[in-house]
Symmetry: C2
Subunit: 398 residues, 2 copies
Amino acid sequence: MRLSKRIKSMEESPIRKLVPYSEAAKANGKHVYHLNIGQPDIETPTAFMESIRNYNEKVIAYTFSQGMPELIKSIISYYEKYDIYYEEDEVLVTNGASEGLLFTIIAIADSGDEILVPEPFYANYNGFNRAVDVNITPITCNAEEGFHLPPKEIIEKSINSRTRAILLSNPSNPTGVVYTKEEILMLCQIAKEHNLFIISDEVYREFVYDDLEFMSFGNIEGVQEHVILIDSISKRYSACGARIGSIATKNKELIKQILKLCQGRLCAPTLEQIGAIELYKTDSKYLEEINKEYKKRRDIVYNFLKDMPGVVCKKPTGAFYVVVKLPIDDAENFAIWLLKDFDINNETLMITPAESFYATPGLGKNEARIAYILNEDDLTKAMEILKKGLELYPNKTI
Amino acid sequence: MRLSKRIKSMEESPIRKLVPYSEAAKANGKHVYHLNIGQPDIETPTAFMESIRNYNEKVIAYTFSQGMPELIKSIISYYEKYDIYYEEDEVLVTNGASEGLLFTIIAIADSGDEILVPEPFYANYNGFNRAVDVNITPITCNAEEGFHLPPKEIIEKSINSRTRAILLSNPSNPTGVVYTKEEILMLCQIAKEHNLFIISDEVYREFVYDDLEFMSFGNIEGVQEHVILIDSISKRYSACGARIGSIATKNKELIKQILKLCQGRLCAPTLEQIGAIELYKTDSKYLEEINKEYKKRRDIVYNFLKDMPGVVCKKPTGAFYVVVKLPIDDAENFAIWLLKDFDINNETLMITPAESFYATPGLGKNEARIAYILNEDDLTKAMEILKKGLELYPNKTI
C-alpha cells in the first residue's frame, strides 16, 4: 500500500531530528541546556488543578462541540480586557491552537489554494497546510531588519487568484518580532483590498517587552469579518499539556462552518476545559510577573548575542524566541557539533536550526532559533557555552 | 471572502439539526427521552479521577507527541488480553478515535482518493473524509439482512485505482451489526488482493452480546501490514469527554508518517492521558457488568421493535445502537413530529434519522438509529412512546 503524497511531503519536526544527538550526549554524561523547545518552566496557576480536583461528576461526558459555555464566557471576558468584543456564537474551543489553525485552514482553503505567511514561521504551519493540500506562499523577512515585514507592494506581488488568507503569529514564534501598528494596519488594508482572511495566532499576546504597544488584529475596526484570532492557554498560563485553544471571529458564517469540524471530533477534553475556565480568570499580576521574568531572560540572551562577532540579531521584543544569523556554514551541522563534539565542563546546549522555518529553499541555513525558557543562571551558562562554541566551531565563515 | 468548497460540502450533524425541536419540546414542559446520542449513563471507573487528582506536577507540560510511554504500555497490555501484540513504536495516542481516523485518512489518501465504507456508517466518517477531500465509496448493506456485508464480488466492483482502504466500525455504530469471522476474512482477502489498508474502528469491542465471538482484524495473520486499529476509551470506560484514543498498526512506516501529524499538534491532553493509563487497566469484571447491562437494554429495544407492524429490524448483536426501517414516509419528519406534535403523558422521545449515515442518495430515508443508552425503566417508557407514535403518525406507509 502506498502512503499519501501529502504525508510524505511533510517534514519531520526540526527539533525531533536532533533528539538522537541530545540523547547520546546525555548518555555520555553531558548536561544539555535546552534552548530548542517552547516548554516554559513557569508553574501553572494552581487554580487549574484545584478546579479539576473538585470536579465531581460521575460520568466524564462529552461537552458541547463548540466548547463548554462557561469556558466560552471566560474567553470572552479575557478578550474584553483588551477591548476586543466577541459574542458567544463567535468563539469555538479547540484542542490547542494547533487544531484551531488546522480547522481554520480547512474551512477557508481548498486543495491547491494558497496562504501568505511571513517567513521564518512556526514550522508546524507548514505541517497543517501540507496535511490538507494548501500551499504556503512565503513573505520573506530577514534578521537584518529584525524580521519586520517588507512594504505593501512587495507583499501584494505574491497574491494571486488562489490566495485565501494571511497567516501569522504576533508576537512571533520563532523570530520574537512584535509587528508595529503600521504593519498591522497595512495587512488589514491588503486583506480588504484582496478579499483575504487574516489568521492571527496571538498566543504570546502578553509576552511583549520594553513597554511596546501590542496591537491585536481584534482591535482594528472595519476589517473584523476578515479577522480570525487563534488563541491558546499553553504559553500564557504555562499549561502546554492542557491542549485548550480557541478560534474567535466576528464572521459568524465562518464559525458556523468550522463548527461542523468541531462536531466531527465531538468535543475538546472535558477536564482540561474545566481547568481552563479558571486560567482565563487569572489575575493580571501573574502575567505581569511572567513578563518581567522573560524580559530578564531576553536581556541575558540579547546581551550575549549582540557582542558575538558575526552574529546578526536585532533585539527581539516579544514571545520567548529569537532567530539569529550565525557566522557558520550550516546551523544543523553546528547544532549537531555542539551536542556531539563540544562541551564546557561537560555541559553543552541544544538550539533549533531555522531552515525549516522557511518555505523558500536555501534560506535560513545559517540561522537558528533560541528559546529563552530557562532561569537566569542556566541561561547565562548556556549562552557562555554558545559563545565559546562559536569561537571554536571548525566551519566558521568569519 | 469565500469559504472552502470542502467545508460547505460537509453536512451538519444529523443530531444537531433536531436540537431546536427538542429544546422547544423541553421549553414546553415535555420530557424527552434521548435515544439519539451515544453518551452512556454508566459511571466512569473512579480510578480515572483518582489518578488525575493525585497528579502533582507543578507545570502541566507537553507530553511526547506519540503519547505518554506509560499509556502506550497500558494500551499494549490491554490488546494482549485479546492476543493482539503491538510494540511501543506501533501505537500512537490520539485526541479520541476521531483524530485517529482523521490522521489515518490523511496519511493513506490524497485529495480525490477513495475509501470503501459499508453503509449505513458513522456519520462523522463522511465529515473526516470531506474535510481532507477524500471520497467515500459506499458498500450498501440493508436492514433486511441485519446490515451484514454483500458478497466479495459485489464489494470488488467498487474498487478502482483510486481506492486506498476499507474503513468500518466493528461492532458497528450505527447498525449494531457484529461482522462474522467469514466477513472479516473476506475483507482481509480483498485488502491483500487489491493492496488496500483496513481501518478498523473497534471502540465497541466489548459490547458484543449473545456469546457471539468477536473477531478483531488484529487477530488475522498475514495481513497485519494492512490493518490499522482505531481505539478509544470513550464508550468502553464511559469516558467520552476524556478524548483519548489510539492508532495501532504493525505497519511501522505508517506509524512513522502519522507521527509527523502528531508532532504538528504537539500532544494529546496530559491529564486525560494520566487518567487513561488507569482506565486501560480496569478489571474485566467492570466490562462484563456493562455488557450484561447493555444486553438487557438491547433486549428491551429489540422485543419492542420485533412486534411493531411494518418495522424491519434484525436483532442487533453489538455496540448500543440499531438502525431500523420504519413504516413511515420520512424519518426526519417523523422525528420532528415526535418532538413537536406528540407525547404520552407529556413525554416523548428523540431518535436520529438515518439518511445521513448513507452515502448513496435516497437510501435511509425511512430509517432511524436508536441508541439504547438509558436505564431499563426509561428505555421501556421510551419504546412504548415510539410504539404508540408509530400507530398515530399521520404519514404511515402501512
